[in-house]
């Protein structure tokens, strides 16, 4: 039962990743791309981690995965901020 639920979570995460990647490729400017990428990826990763926790079953493992998720969120938020600020400064190039 938990395995099935976990798999569903992971499948759902794939949809978010796909959306994020399409956004990265198709959206017109840096800020919009960043928006698509960070939002979709963070949610996607969250779902992936949740699914993996369910399938893995260990509490310790779940904690480690959760830590990974938090770290990635932390880093990607700041990276996104840096990229956005850089883009603002440079003006719109791409």
């Amino acid at each position: 039962m938990t395995e099935l639920l976990g798999s569903l979570f992971i499948l759902a995460s794939l949809a978010f990743f796909a959306a994020g990647s399409i956004g990265l490729l198709r959206l017109p400017d840096v800020h919009a791309r960043l928006h698509a990428l960070t939002k979709a990826d963070n949610l996607g990763l969250g779902l992936l981690v949740a699914g993996a926790c369910l399938i893995g079953g260990h509490l310790l493992l779940a904690l480690k995965l959760l830590l990974v998720w938090l770290l990635v969120m932390f880093a990607s938020a700041i990276a996104a901020n840096l990229i956005a600020r850089h883009a603002m400064k440079d003006g719109e190039e791409s």
């Binding site: 770290l71 932390f74 880093a75 700041i78 901020n81 840096l82 600020r85």
Partner: protein, 317 residues
């Protein structure tokens, strides 16, 4: 031979990898090439995981994609004269090199396929697993690196030392970065200690699970890179004399452990019975620090300010 979903996944991964490599190498835009190369490294790390080589997946992500990537990105700041005329050779010559390349790849593939299909035995795997009990660790890759083929690893540390000394001899470090804004500063202050903890964990766990000195050392080096991005100057590194000892430590620990055995009438690098686990942990700790400092100094790009004064202090004149 049955074709399963796994094989489709494998083909997809292989094609993606080749595509990434091709676009990283064929474009004239170097920045793009470097970014694609980092993506290549990450994909490779995924493939290591697929091929059940988690130790390599960790090392590739940390060293192959991570640190190499950081070094290459930094190198983009140095302009080359030749970059302006990144011209391609004439079309006929180009065709010839492509044909030669295909010939090379084809002969390699021919030999490889023949070899793998004719030799289906376990090669050295049987021997390695058979002697795992006596190696002092239960992670077979660590056993090969630090015990069965420890001599390779010893010389590999010498390679790293040679590269580091070469970089130090070329001149002084790059200018440090400007102090970052609040957010990046916060990231640096939070991440660096965390990296140190994770490195310690990887070192410890390397004895029985994926990890070990190299992955841990790379993470520590990543901490140096982060701090550097956060505006660290080389004065904040350990004292110059200590740096020398740290650089030498990995090899020195190996040699001491190696000759320890010879006093017990054993071969060089043969760990006395019961001591293997402890000796391996000690060697790995020293090696981790050497690796971290070497790679960190490589990121600094040259000798830290005042490095040469080590030799002239106390000079009479």
């Amino acid at each position: 031979m049955e074709i399963t979903l796994w094989h489709l996944l494998d083909s997809l991964l292989a094609i993606l990898l080749l595509g990434l490599a091709w676009s990283a190498l064929s474009g004239t835009d170097l920045k793009r090439g470097v970014v694609l190369f980092m993506a290549f490294g990450l994909l490779l790390s995924l493939i290591w995981a697929r091929l059940r080589a988690p130790d390599l997946a960790l090392a590739e992500a940390a060293i192959g994609a991570g640190l190499s990537g950081a070094l290459l990105l930094l190198a983009l700041r140095d302009r080359e004269k030749s970059e302006n005329k990144a011209g391609q050779p004439m079309s006929l010559l180009r065709l010839a090199t492509v044909l030669l390349m295909l010939l090379l790849a084809a002969s390699f593939a021919l030999a490889y396929v023949t070899a793998v299909t004719s030799n289906t035995g376990g090669r050295l795997a049987g021997l390695a697993f058979g002697n795992l009990e006596q190696s002092g660790v239960s992670n077979p890759v660590t056993a090969v690196l630090l015990n069965f083929r420890a001599y390779d690893t010893l010389l590999e540390l010498a390679v790293l030392l040679a590269a580091t000394l070469g970089i130090l001899a070329l001149g002084s470090e790059r200018r440090p970065f400007r102090r970052p804004g609040v957010l990046l500063g916060a990231l640096v202050t939070w991440i660096s200690p965390l990296l140190v903890i994770v490195a310690g964990y990887l070192l410890w766990t390397g004895a029985h699970a994926p990890g070990g000195a190299f992955q841990a050392g790379a993470l520590l080096a990543a901490a140096i890179v982060m701090l550097r991005l956060g505006g660290m100057t080389s004065e904040q590194l350990p004292h110059q004399l200590l740096q020398g000892w740290l650089l030498a430590g990995g090899i020195a620990a190996f040699m001491l452990a190696g000759y320890l055995a010879t006093f017990h009438d054993l071969a060089f690098l043969q760990y006395p019975a019961g001591w293997a686990g402890l000796l391996i942990l000690l060697i790995e700790s020293a090696a981790m620090l050497s690796i971290a400092l070497s790679l960190g100094l490589a990121y600094l790009g040259g000798s830290p300010s005042g490095w040469d004064e080590r030799s002239s202090r106390g000079k009479r004149s």
